[in-house]
């Protein structure tokens, strides 16, 4: 019983590090456009511009793309 407990603790401490990352052939869902960090750069630029203007926050995070020349 104590052995089993010790074993379970050892595995639990490993946590998700013990699991395998997705294999190359399993990455279908990760390839969807909505899974990108920034799926629509133009949209992000517009949002950041509005955010900067309305909230008077400095800069927003560095955004490339867009065409309005505000950044």
């Amino acid at each position: 019983m104590k052995t089993l407990f010790a074993l379970l603790i050892a595995v639990a401490l490993g946590g998700c590090a013990a699991l395998q990352p997705p294999q190359p052939w399993e990455k279908g869902d990760l390839a969807r456009p909505s899974m990108q960090i920034d799926p629509d750069p133009l949209q992000t630029t517009l949002e950041q511009h509005i955010y900067t203007s309305k909230e008077a926050a400095t800069g927003g995070y560095g955004v490339g793309g867009g065409g309005c020349g505000c950044n």
Binding site: K2, L7, A18, Q23, P24, W25, E26, G28
Partner: protein
Amino acid sequence: MRVRSLRAPSNQARLAIGALALFAAFAPPVAALDAGAPAPALALPQSGGQIVSLESLRGRVVYVDFWASWCGPCRQSFPWMNEMQRKYGARGLTIVGVNVDKRDADAQRFLQQVPATFTIVYDPKGEAPAAYGVKAMPSSYLVDAQGRIAFVEYGFKDDRKAELERQIAVALGTH
């Protein structure tokens, strides 16, 4: 010297065995195959249900290509593979495209957009790519007539087409 008789394993031994078993359960898939290794067995169904196996294709040069609907380079590789099947089919080449999509609808939509004139088989569970040690999508394995891996290609690029065709011709030449 006292000889230790066989008895139930000590707690320490049990712990070691248990840990090993757990590590084995989380073991990574097989390492990548090298040229010259025997090709792992394949027996996968086509869309109609009939099974295609490497064993039944022994004697032919088989180009096994792992593809998926979400794989961009596959859109370029399919027309090229159609061309290869057309050109070398009579000389003994069989191209087998192994689809690894989890949802069949995705694969069918891809095939409607990018038709294939070669054999397509389906492996949604992903046992075949694990057995072949696939490291990238798409991956292609050229299996010679004796059932050994002749050539491995990870990915697909336009400037590799000539080299791939040369490998196919070499494998067919010794057929």
